[in-house]
Symmetry: C2
Subunit: 125 residues, 2 copies
DNA sequence: TTAGGTGTACTATAACAGATAGTACACTAT
DNA sequence: ATAGTGTACTATCTGTTATAGTACACCTAA
């Protein structure tokens, strides 16, 4: 369910956050679903429980999940909306890169193809 | 000429690299131009000469500039081509974000508009 | 009630990257 | 010679990331 890259520059806890949000976006995790517990997932991924706690804590701060002490941690009803809203930032990131590509003399068509290809590829999956 | 953000997560030396390449892309820095010296620029930006050395060293490794000890540091003739080639990676980044946007249910048109807006804005500048 | 699972909190430590400080040396142009 | 350039090196500080270990509170089910 989760895949950790220990060599890249992205911290483990951020990878957990990203992947959890991705699972929510793709509908694998739905509102009310229980997230894997700190202990079991930390064993499964061979990472420290504290690292996982940090990731879950941030997700909770964003309102993506809610903890029920002694019971478990669950995806909230707002999760999908909240994660979706975060995509606005991604659109800004695309704009930033777009300006660089333009400055680099990359034709608009090539940038357009990249976005188009991404959508076609994702839609198939 | 250079602008440093000390609070963001991007290391200073990376900001220097990015901005130098950007200046080359936009034609502000041309082949043969001298880059600001380690000492003067480090004073101007209030950063450590070593940090600057690190940035310049990487640019040199990429072939963007070449040092003439005792003389200065100059933009190479290949600089524009080399920096331009690096843009391929940016296209991959756009694809990656595009897939996420698609997964998030952001309509293709919105992603398209973002790229279009970037090109129009950049072209005016 | 007890056992076992859950989340939470805390301290301590290690490792690493980024940045700074300071010094010293070699080279080139004037 | 002088002043500016690049280069090399050690040492130190800081913040982030990750780990280790411990302890406690809570809930559920047997």
């Amino acid at each position: 369910m989760f895949q950790i890259d220990r060599f890249g520059r992205t911290p483990i806890y951020e990878q957990i956050i990203d992947q959890t949000q991705r699972l929510i976006l793709t509908g694998v995790l739905k509102a009310g679903d229980q997230l894997p517990s700190v202990r079991t997932l930390s064993q499964e991924l061979s990472i420290n429980p504290n690292t996982l706690q940090k990731a879950y804590g941030e997700l909770e701060r964003r309102g993506v999940c809610i903890s029920a002490p002694g019971n478990g941690r669950f995806v909230t009803g707002d999760a999908l909306r909240i994660v979706g809203e975060g995509m606005e930032e991604q659109l800004e990131e695309i704009k930033r890169i777009g300006r660089e590509l333009c400055a680099a003399g990359i034709p608009f068509e090539r940038a357009l193809e990249a976005v188009k290809a991404a959508y076609e590829k994702e839609a198939k999956v």
